[in-house]
């Protein structure tokens, strides 16, 4: 009997305690599930709201007659498409140039921080790179317009005189208010985000894979090439896309640095050839009313579509080699 008594109260308390626990479980679970569902749906709603706003507001411009559009003082094109086209071109060109400059440097910095630098230096450098991200874009614009243009002037003069036979470097005109300067500013601006993401990805390389490479007789660089870079590939692509997104939408810095023009031009060193959508909206919006606002919003819609396409392409690139991603 002495052996039998102790379990009894436990058995009696058991179901009640269990009930109470399940009760709060159910409630907590429901609240949390509701919150997560709500947040997920909210994102979709916001995205849909932006898309609907852009389409509705751009509709007058999309349906307007070219003769109506010609009434707008700054509208110098045959049609809306003829106006949006060069802007899209300028936006994509500036962003891609920035990406081409920023990605290799970012990967270099990220690898240095994750695999080369002594720990203390790596930490300090990491903070410094993150700090770059905290600088407001208008400050980058000032820096670009007042300092960088002067510094790049001799470089671009040299580029144009020695490599001028390649069309893209031909015909430099001072001051350097051209698309290449804008791209350099953009590259500096997107450097921190790409570096930060790439660094995190490189740090997550499984130690097992690094050791596998080292045990085969890999030098540090060979280890990085066989284990770290392939593992980080999709992460680096995502990082580059984040950077590209920021470069595509950057407004202030481009506005302050670039001398605008609406041409399909590959002359990277000539001013007055390119303009980006975002900078153009910012430049024209204060003076716009009625149909001209609608035209600007139509260009914004184009930017929205570009960012969407960029993201889909990035996902497709990542998904194409999913089997080899190391996630399985």
């Amino acid at each position: 009997m002495t052996v039998g008594t102790p379990p009894a109260p436990v058995a009696a308390a058991g179901p009640r305690a269990a009930d109470r626990r399940t009760g709060s479980h159910v409630w907590g679970g429901r609240v949390f599930a509701g919150l997560s569902y709500g947040s997920g749906i909210l994102i979709l709603l916001v995205l849909a709201a932006v898309a609907v706003f852009l389409v509705v507001q751009a509709l007058p411009a999309l349906t307007a007659d070219p003769t109506e559009l010609e009434q707008i003082s700054w509208f110098r094109a045959e049609s809306l498409l003829g106006y949006v086209g060069p802007l899209v071109f300028g936006t994509v060109l500036a962003a891609l140039l920035a990406l081409a400059m920023a990605v290799p440097v970012s990967i270099g910095i990220a690898l240095f921080i994750s695999h080369y630098a002594p720990r203390r230096l790596a930490q300090g450098l990491g903070y410094l790179v993150d700090l770059l991200a905290a600088i407001p874009s208008v400050v980058y614009g000032l820096w670009g317009a007042l300092w960088l243009i002067g510094v790049l002037d001799p470089v671009m003069t040299w580029l144009s005189s020695t490599l001028g036979f390649i069309p893209i470097f031909a015909g430099y005109q001072a001051p350097a208010k051209n698309v290449l300067t804008a791209a350099v500013v953009l590259a500096v601006m997107i450097l921190p985000i790409i570096t930060a993401v790439a660094r995190e990805v490189f740090l997550q390389t499984p130690r097992l894979h690094e050791e596998a490479a080292l045990a085969l007789g890999a030098t540090r660089w060979e280890m990085i090439r066989t284990a770290v870079l392939p593992f980080g590939r999709s992460g680096v692509i995502s990082a580059a896309m984040l950077g590209l997104g920021r470069a595509l939408g950057e407004t202030m810095a481009v506005l302050m640095v670039l001398s605008p023009g609406l041409l399909f031009s590959f002359f990277l060193l000539k001013p007055g050839q390119h303009q980006t959508i975002a900078a153009n909206i910012a430049a024209q919006f204060p003076e716009a009313a009625g149909l001209s606002v609608s035209v600007l919003i139509a260009t914004g819609l184009a930017l929205f579509v570009i960012t969407f396409v960029v993201n889909f392409v990035a996902r497709a690139i990542v998904a194409r080699r999913k089997d080899f991603s190391g996630a399985n």
């Binding site: 097992l208 045990a215 085969l216 007789g217 392939p230």
Partner: protein, 259 residues
């Protein structure tokens, strides 16, 4: 060409902490040597000094002498990278490169060594190495699939194929079966006895039956108290070690009266 290993007065340190003390060991070429002992006794650390892999941990260093084929591994001007090309290693958990195909995994070491290899030579080497690792029949139709698509046991044999593709003189195995099921373990053990003909093998294992099955000689590492360095208690022919060891500690450990 397989080579013997001579270890004299080896002490292994992590910073100021002495992890392994005073190891003397003589390993003949074309033999299988098993290292057994409780967790934390330094047998894996010791194994990793045989191809200088322990140096991956910052602050790790050794005092003493390790020679493979008469060459001092820690001599002046000896590049750890060159040592690792000569002394292959298989790890506790299978670690094929997930971003590479099965064939590319086998060729990874060869390509690292900056050798240009023709396509037909590469195909030959892949087949020879996979046959050497008893994996060829299972994967010959899917050489371009990712290495991570294989089962755990197959992945481990792929890692062995990758290690032997560069023709090392010594093969180190750090608990190669501890993450595998019994059938895969059996496959690896059979493979080890075949590989002995071409390589000198040192294997760390927690499984004493495994040590008894695969090895010619067995070394027992032990640690007196936490914080003390691990020591090689004794090393002898495997049959002797498991029937009539000369040290009391060995007998206790082997018969399960440990601790």
């Amino acid at each position: 060409m397989p080579q013997g290993i001579q270890v004299k007065d080896l002490n292994i340190f992590y910073g100021d902490f002495r992890a392994v003390a005073d190891v003397d060991m003589e390993i003949e070429s074309n033999s299988v040597t098993a290292l057994i002992g409780p967790s934390g006794c330094g047998k894996s650390t010791f194994l990793r000094t045989l191809n200088r892999m322990h140096e991956v941990v910052p602050g790790a260093r050794v005092e003493g002498n390790v020679q493979i084929g008469g060459v001092d591994l820690y001599g002046k001007g000896v590049d750890p990278v060159a040592v690792r090309r000569e002394v292959g290693m298989v790890f506790q958990r299978p670690n094929p490169f997930p971003t590479m195909s099965i064939a590319d995994n086998v060729l990874a070491g060869v390509k690292l060594n900056n050798r240009r290899i023709s396509r037909s030579d590469a195909a030959d080497l892949v087949e020879r190495s996979l046959r050497g690792a008893n994996l060829w029949k299972e994967v010959k139709d899917r050489l371009d699939r990712p290495g991570s698509s294989l089962s755990g046991g197959q992945q481990q044999r792929l890692c062995i194929a990758r290690a032997i593709a560069v023709e090392p003189s010594v093969l180190l195995m750090d608990e190669p079966c501890s993450a595998l099921d019994p059938i895969s373990t059996l496959a690896i053990e059979e493979l080890i006895s075949q590989l002995k003909e071409r390589y000198t093998i040192v294997i760390v294992t927690h499984n004493m039956q495994q040590a008894a099955r695969v090895s010619d000689r067995t070394g027992f590492f032990n640690i007196e108290n936490t914080g003390d360095p691990g020591r090689l208690v004794e090393i002898d022919d495997t049959a002797t070690m498991f029937s009539n060891p000369s040290q009391r500690a060995t007998e206790d450990y082997i018969s399960g009266r440990f601790g």
